[in-house]
Symmetry: D2
Subunit: 286 residues, 4 copies
């Protein structure tokens, strides 16, 4: 038996009394039964954030009617809002290079149904992991990148993404900087995994930097990609204890477990419509 | 400048559509501005849980009127609910034995203002920590317990608690079993710290048990005291990695850091009215 | 360039002065350069534990001579000891059922070279994951188990294991109880992953048990299999915070990340000859 | 019964075969029974590190003879080494400002005997915590610091430290920069707690910086003080998960638990002679 579909609204707007009452009133008046409601107020910025998910089982509005009807309420409160349906799966493109751990981790979560997304294609700047991708039945596209062809290759990638109606890009240890063009086309929809506890150790070779500094804990950070390298809104982070016994090679090996679990959790929250971006920070309704 | 007072409602009741709308409607209609709203639905039990905190700054109902007015709404939805005010501090009795780490930790949080409670008295079955208590200016009462005098001593303790209008009892490594009488007088208001990751290692000498079993992680658990030893609703738990290098004495020493931080956090959530008990489990709106 | 081979000795014996000096003297006298030396003394049992790894680059004894020569020293100190060479990879059989997360995790670590073992075969009591196994090029053997055929099937499994010269069995969420016969043939060489923080929640459906008890942290435990269910020596454990928001299904989903990383780490330590078992506990020279 | 005294050697030198054998030979030849031996090799720098602790119960050398005798061996291998005795307690000065959490935490560990040190004095640039210090019977010295008097006050502090034969300085949230003079007099003997996960958020107001960046985890770092602010060798770090719900005030409150436990553990390792500094990094034989 397929469970009935649900709808989710992610909202932020200037705070004022009665917002929760108004939104729940809208849903209640059309027979919507709340499954999850979370709200948060940023008292410094005076901003109201809300996530509400409700069952469509007895909802009296047609799915296509919700958006125009809610728009009236949204406009009244100057809301920025996004409506999504659980049945409408995210279409995710994986960008990879030569490292397989995040790739296999995401593909196995996808295959088992744990990660409810479509993965229409995998893009890589190396041919190394073609067989890994194809083994899971996902089309693999090799875009070798050089200084000269980078702009052209990105245009070709963007075309391919659009053909495949991709709405989310996951950089699963893709070792190339994304152009502002692509970032602009996918605002807050490109998720990266950086192999350090940001903001420590931005840029290249973070495990080497961590080793040099002699830290006792290493980390990984998943964030939305913005035009500033490793500076985008942080979605999730996790860490692991290390010691003087651990060489750089050990940190690289150990860190993989962080990278894959942190990235997978960030992707899961994103596709479950639990993440809201505001002022280079995230509200994660986890 | 003292910030304006806030009121908090903790609610649970059978789930049905419109509950959030009704509660927020009640608050909104009297000018209450929401500061925090969290709700949770247990889909197996079909129970609705909610915590809502609002500012009393422009609230048009007098504090004394809120309870009778809300009672009507509560009755309609078969709610179990509890109203509290931030300005009305919990009155906490600390029960201790010979170990000082939880005691000092709570007293220093109290003194710095981090833990917003009154501590009218400390009760101990040993005289060991009298000077520790008195150094912080808290009256110390010594109730030596023997098999013979236990019932009488507990009656005397209860009397003392009532004289001091104590509403919350914190067992800060008190090594005595609490009588059903006292538990009945303070239902879900007696907080204990057990020095293991419950339900592992109930009863006496949990660090010895942990050592014997060869676990790689030790823990501490803070829970409400019920008539079943170490079986009450869990409020908070935390753990720490250990190894074969650690003797029982090491586990005892290391575990103290867990015990004091886990207990302090549980007490904090309790006195901030963030904990709701249902069917031997807690909902912690942290 | 292949790095030169190393040898490892795992030793335990009654403690007495001069043991480290004697062992290092043996190695030094034959030109062995120590790469890692760890020792531990259990003061209660008065037992000495040691792991020493040295380079064979300039070692003057032939690999085949080490065992007979060291035996004299070992006998003198009543040592129980085990010699192994890094170049001699463990031959691991994976036992699985229907869940793929531990399987894919181990196979991808194997493929990338992170886990330096041979995996000559995969055994399952269900046919569900045949294609998953075969996709990675590992022979898959289906042994359906019923009450009636269990003994016969295990005999056939054992034969197959011996044909493939398997020395280590990894139960990667294999949902069958292993016979005492197989345990006897692979003493301290069968590694299981149990999806709870042992000794809490032994036996079936640990996540359901955890949900019922209302714990705030869940765990996973990797241990050697002994005749007592879930009672064998613990190799590794890890935990994760959960809340009242998490349903049993959430615990099952979240716990998979613990299970796969805990199992992988236990297997890694085992095949790197870093684990020593003594009195139902492990010494992990991590 | 007082346990017999132990001696500890911390050693580092260029790596070469036979070092462990030589050191254990020295101890064995004088009847020393090893209680703990740990060694580590930095393969990049080709440096050997070792900590060895042995019982003096049947040791045939007098305590005063160990140093001159071992010096011969040390010189032969170009060792840098330090000998210490467990019976010889570190003499620790606490430097504080206005925050009490680290102070109370260290004083209560000291009083209970958990932290085996002498604390002859407390120094503060504010008078705020005088009664806190005096309540525990420790002399409190107030040194108000201004731009003008800073140099003179530090000279007076140094004199006081020497009068009290202080060998270790613990900056328990002391909000002043230490002069190079004092650092030079106490090389690798001044321990600071910084309220961030270094190298993230150096300098002032790290919790504000963490809030601004929107990190999902906060940390604390204990390190030796060097002339470069917040850049000294890291001894210990720990972290804690936070969320968008947490204001700066919440981070400040929550972080205190990290600060006090991280600092206390770093001090414990230091006074137990478990920390060795090399090239701005630590080897912690924990």
């Amino acid at each position: 038996m397929v469970p009935p579909d649900t709808a989710t609204l992610l909202i932020h707007c200037p705070d004022q009394p009665g917002l929760v009452h108004d939104v729940t009133g809208f849903l209640f008046s059309h027979g919507g039964n709340l499954m999850d409601l979370q709200q948060h107020i940023d008292p410094l910025e005076n901003v109201f954030f809300m996530r509400v998910e409700w069952s469509l089982e007895n909802f009296t509005l047609d799915k296509s009617e919700i958006e125009p009807r809610f728009a009236l309420l949204g406009k009244r409160h100057q809301m920025t809002w996004k409506l999504s349906f659980q049945s409408q799966r995210a279409r995710v493109a994986l960008f990879i290079s030569k490292e397989s751990h995040c790739l296999y981790d995401l593909l196995s979560r996808h295959e088992s149904g744990e990660l409810p997304v479509e993965i229409p294609l995998i893009i890589s700047n190396h041919d190394t992991l073609r067989s890994a991708a194809e083994r899971f039945g996902i089309p693999f596209h090799h875009f070798p990148i050089t200084k000269e062809n980078k702009a052209a290759q990105e245009r070709a990638q963007l075309e391919l993404l659009k053909e495949n109606r991709v709405d989310t890009i996951v950089l699963a240890r893709y070792m190339q900087i994304i152009s502002e063009q692509m970032i602009g086309d996918y605002p807050n929809d490109i998720i990266n995994i950086h192999h350090s506890f940001l903001p420590a150790f931005v840029g290249a070779k973070p495990y080497h930097q961590a080793y040099e500094r002699g830290v006792k804990i290493i980390g990984a950070t998943s964030h939305y990609v913005t035009a500033s390298l490793d500076q985008g809104p942080i979605i999730h982070q996790d860490v692991m204890r290390v010691s003087h016994e651990d060489s750089v090679a050990d940190l690289v090996r150990l860190g993989k477990d962080l990278e894959k679990t942190v990235l997978a959790k960030a992707v899961w929250w994103h596709v479950m419509n639990k993440v809201l971006v505001y002022h280079n920070k995230t509200v994660v309704f986890s």
